[in-house]
Assembly symmetry: C2
Homo-oligomer: 471 residues x 2
């Protein structure tokens, strides 16, 4: 938390030796006051003495883990680890009670790098190769737990017949697959939450540890753009008060001599959906205001849904926030009993568009941020939205470049690339450690089932601990 500003060090990574350094400028080193976040260093605490709180399951969890295969409620999927992408969820299927079979939802989804889980969590290890190729065990890289946060899955009260109130409530219990990663000075928590309703909810929690030099890290599905790299990132500074700042400071004064740089976070998800089979199409259902002119009704307008199937890649490049629309991946070969195409819907989270010019190198490499949605036909060499090698690349191997081929994407094995993001203007509360900022998205069944699939879910029993005595 006390950056020494303006020093560039040249290191030989083969020899692990410092070859030299350059001291470009001299500014005061920020004071140590208030920068230590450890509990052991806090000399007094907030008044409240916390009472205990826990999630409890006296009979253990309701899910099973067999190797990398996880089964819970109506879900069945495979969980593995990739050194670059983090958790990879594959072959996710959901059991359809009516059809009495498992139906495929997605083929593969790589995500981001655990711990920090409740008492009822089960942990899993993973392996990576070190720089010499030796396998390294990464213990507890994932945790899997059932979550009951006091929420409601569905409910209804009906007082239609006098004296006879119908009240039906089903609490929401979900399965969370979590990974925590530390990338540069950030801690990321990525949750994949499976719901019995068929929804998959992805939540990305972004926790800044401190403002340091996370310059130019460009993993493919974790792409941090730090504006005007090397000048912009948060740094030591001459300033001790906002009034001294007369020119662009590229950020916020967070403490004396400490500037927090304006920066962005973009997260790209490679969603290889297989909705009830491999061959899928992408459908934009635009909601359009429609005037009523015939005066048969006192109303002057209504809105209608105009659905269009994307034929080629250019039809499916979407900047979110412009049109009001539902975005669906459907199986054009399968319909429900009453004739609707079987599908899943993407409900987007926080939308951010890039704020860099197209010819800026950071943006050339990060060109996949230009649209929030891209659809490509599945191609095994097209795995990393920012290219296989990102550092010092010229953007030749990015999603934006592949998409220029404008391939056919209708009724094919398609990949939905979804980028969520936020621009981060620092505030003093982010210093020295930022509290969690979350965003995410939901994949929700849309005419995938004949009707609400959770009507037949038994309400889970509360864990009965009434005869317990405190340990």
């Amino acid at each position: 938390m006390r950056p020494i500003e303006g020093i560039t060090v040249t290191v030989d990574l083969e020899e692990m030796k410092i070859l030299g350094f350059k001291d470009r400028s001299t500014v005061p080193v920020p004071k140590a006051d208030g920068t230590d976040y450890r509990e052991s260093s806090q000399n007094h605490h907030l008044g409240l003495r916390w009472k205990g709180i826990s999630m409890h399951q006296s009979d253990g969890p309701s899910f099973t883990i067999d190797g990398h295969k996880i089964r819970w409620a109506n879900w069945d999927f495979h969980l593995s680890f990739d050194a670059r992408a983090g958790p990879v969820i594959s072959l996710a299927s959901i059991f359809d009670l009516q059809k009495q079979k498992f139906r495929k939802v997605l083929y593969q989804v790589p995500l981001e790098p655990l711990r920090d889980c409740p008492e009822n969590a089960v942990f899993m290890d993973a392996y990576v190769a070190d720089h010499n190729g030796t396998p390294v065990n990464m213990p507890n890289i994932f945790c899997i737990f059932e979550r009951y946060a006091g929420d409601v899955m569905w409910r209804h009260t009906e007082a239609a017949i006098p004296g006879k109130v119908i009240r039906e409530v089903r609490p929401e219990v979900t399965l969370v697959v979590r990974m925590v990663s530390t990338v540069g000075n950030y801690d990321y928590v990525n949750d994949w939450e499976f719901k019995q309703s068929g929804s998959i909810k992805v939540t990305f929690h972004c926790i800044k540890a401190r403002f340091g030099s996370n310059i130019g890290y460009t993993g493919e599905n974790l792409h941090i753009l730090v504006g005007l790299t090397g000048l912009l990132e948060v740094r030591g500074s001459m300033y001790t008060h906002k009034d001294q700042i007369k020119e662009e400071a590229y950020g916020t004064l967070l403490a004396e001599n400490t500037l927090g740089a304006n920066h962005d976070h973009f997260f790209t998800y490679h969603l290889d959906l297989d909705v009830d089979g491999d061959a899928n199409s992408f459908v934009r259902s635009q909601l359009l205001m429609t005037p009523v002119t015939d005066h048969r009704s006192p109303r002057r307008s209504y809105w209608r849904v105009v659905s269009e199937t994307a034929k080629t890649e250019s039809d499916a490049r979407i900047k979110l926030g412009v049109a009001q629309e539902d975005l669906l991946v459907i199986n054009p070969n399968k319909r429900t009993n009453i004739g609707n195409f079987i599908g899943y819907r993407l409900i987007p989270g926080s939308v951010a568009a890039p704020l860099l010019s197209d010819d800026d190198y950071a943006q050339i490499r990060g060109a996949f941020t230009k649209y929030n949605i891209w659809i490509t036909p599945y191609n095994k060499s097209e795995k990393w939205a920012g290219g296989l090698y990102v550092d010092q690349s010229r953007g030749d191997d990015t999603l934006a470049r592949w998409s220029l081929r404008n391939r056919e994407i209708e009724n094919k094995d398609i990949v939905l690339w979804y980028t969520l993001g936020f621009h981060h203007v620092p505030y003093q509360e982010d210093f020295p450690v930022m509290t969690t900022l979350s965003s995410g998205f939901e994949l929700r069944p849309a005419n995938f089932f004949e009707s609400n699939p959770v009507l037949k879910v038994r309400p889970p029993e509360p864990d009965n601990w009434s005869n317990c005595s405190r340990a």
Copy 2:
């Protein structure tokens, strides 16, 4: 769930007598199959036998309720009930450890009409007047509980000194104030979640019970627009398969003879923020792409923050999703030690713009949906965004009309009106009962504290039940 279509009944509400009825059209009554959502009516269940799961606090909750005054962790506020607005949260203040005093955040927030809470919840009653003016007790209208959903408030891992890993994690425990209301055929769950970090997170869970005739309900902070009322809402129909639909059906075929109408949900929050005092200003911090032309840097662009204080009401009418910006309510008379203005930030949720024409009566009454954000100077007669009386009104007493006066709003006691919404295209999973769809927003401190206020929060202890035996 089995609408008899096309009948209009005229009722004398004084005499409580039916005066007459009109049968406009005859269509088949939908079959009863699959419409009963009660657990007792399900002849078989989904395979999984749930194991118990609970939230536990063996020493009871950490909050106190004194009449209507609630204290928890660093928060202090008043909770009351309004028959129209639902829960009203007032005089919310947060304890600042550094300054050793409570600081005001908001004066008053009316919201929406509980039960459906976890085991550790505490309930509160409220009273309303019936149509004769007699006080009626509404038991358990609110529940208040601490939530631990297995999430992380903040964490950091640091391996800077070899062999000495620093890992600090604080689990996220929050206080939830919940109300559940049944309006027409919808069940709404509204959560106000207080975080120790100073954030207030509001989540609106929308649970459709069934598609019926919720026509034209227009409460002020719950405004349901049903497109082309009377024709459009979900209804019995001749159709039994999608392929029979040749003209506009204003919705989705959900089951044989049952159409689910396209419709909207708009929720308006009246946020009378008092950030560290009454006199506040509204600031838009726009993030703007800025070209770099001097070739001193290999970079071609960066983004900067241009902050503008809204002088009058017209400066603060905002359609979200157009500009990339941070929206702040600041106290222009108070600054942090290093000179930043003290403020709170609104982080919006699901954004929807109206899809009706300006001259359509539903939109004239619901004109407050035209902008997602409005700021007005506090005026005690301006309480209901849709007007004091909404039914059959002509839009003379709505937020959109008051705002035309273009009053001064800088350094005043101001009200932030925030409208979130979503357009709902029905899918078969919504039949006969829809699973919860949620949206919300967050009020987050922005240079309100000198630094992260939760560094000094002790980690709560897990509830230790290890010596317990199952009851």
